[in-house]
Symmetry: C2
Subunit: 206 residues, 2 copies
């Protein structure tokens, strides 16, 4: 019943504002779900990797797609129509549960980021973002952990609510300290432990 959807890097699975025509499950690859504000600012609201759903919000609420999932690498996803997917869920209660579990994690993730955005300064938010990237798609290489898809300072800025300038400064400082390294659209975390310390360290003189 499913349609297989193959998406090249930098292409969109669907577009923000379009009417919902399908719900997707990512099989391989990685997407960044970006929202555009009325003013034209962009934000990355979440990353969508293998096993994650996309388009579910619109599908179940019957609203236009709230974001545009851009493929960061060549990716493959399965697509169902609303009808097919709900009938599938009706026949397999385990599927409903899986959907719910996935959405629950998305909620928790979003709330965590909300909390970070409200209480933490940029450097720490970037540290959290990198740790999340590691967890979602880190790849061990000798001397560190590599982010397995091309990522720019600008992307990181959009994920943390900062500007690419500030992110660049932070990463430059970290590179000097040997915490990260990487070139153009490429990032390796050399000292995850140091990042965790930055991310969690108690604020001084509370």
């Amino acid at each position: 019943m499913a349609r297989v959807e193959r998406v090249l890097a930098d292409e969109a699975l669907f577009r923000q504002g379009d009417p919902p025509e399908a719900i997707f499950v990512v099989l391989s690859g990685e997407f960044k779900a970006t929202q555009v504000t009325p003013e034209g600012d962009r934000v990355v609201v979440r990353l969508v990797g293998p096993g994650d759903l996309a388009g579910h919000v619109s599908m179940f609420c019957n609203t236009p797609y709230p974001a545009t999932p851009l493929a960061m690498t060549e990716s493959i996803a399965l697509a169902w129509t609303h009808r097919d997917f709900t009938s599938l869920m009706a026949r397999h209660p385990a599927l409903s549960l899986a959907v719910i579990r996935n959405m629950a994690q998305a909620i928790e993730n979003a709330h965590t980021r909300l909390r970070e955005a409200a209480t933490e300064r940029v450097e720490r938010r970037v540290a959290h973002a990198l740790l999340r990237l590691i967890k979602q798609s880190g790849h061990r290489i000798d001397g560190g952990i590599e982010i397995s898809f091309p990522i720019t300072r600008h992307d990181i800025a959009l994920m943390t609510g900062a500007t690419l300038y500030t992110v660049s400064r932070i990463l430059s400082a970290w590179e000097e300290q040997g915490i990260v390294s990487g070139g153009r659209r490429h990032l390796v975390i050399r000292a995850p432990h140091a990042l965790m310390k930055i991310a969690e360290e108690e604020a001084p003189t509370k």
Copy 2:
């Protein structure tokens, strides 16, 4: 199969960090779901009103409760154990759908707030927050719309990622302009239209 839970104002339905023992559906009243950071800062991640779920994230992921829902007024909720609720869902597919729909809205809401937190300045975020409050529990009175539960500047600050000082200044300014009015723990929006203008106005000289 459900247990009826009655909660007085300023009491918690459950506490962040506790193991999940039930899932709740709010019948009446209003809760603010607050998260505490390791450093002790607090944030209101969402409002939970009639028809909304609480505790679902933990219940389905089997993780400790991620937040503490504090009752803003006396409230009533129904509680089910995990076992009872899943068996209920298995027997009534419509329930699964309702749960999914509610969670989808929570996700969209969280993403919207994320986007706002990342791109908008405080005044506009406060405007959005007030508009959301109106929508969720506004109550028409002559001369404006009243927020139907006690709310403090501090609460608004926790909802917008600002400080109570900044919120106080903004509301004072708005009060001078006749947009809002209200006293201690009490808020009336006199000119929702003006708020919408503040919330959506194009940034100057883009």
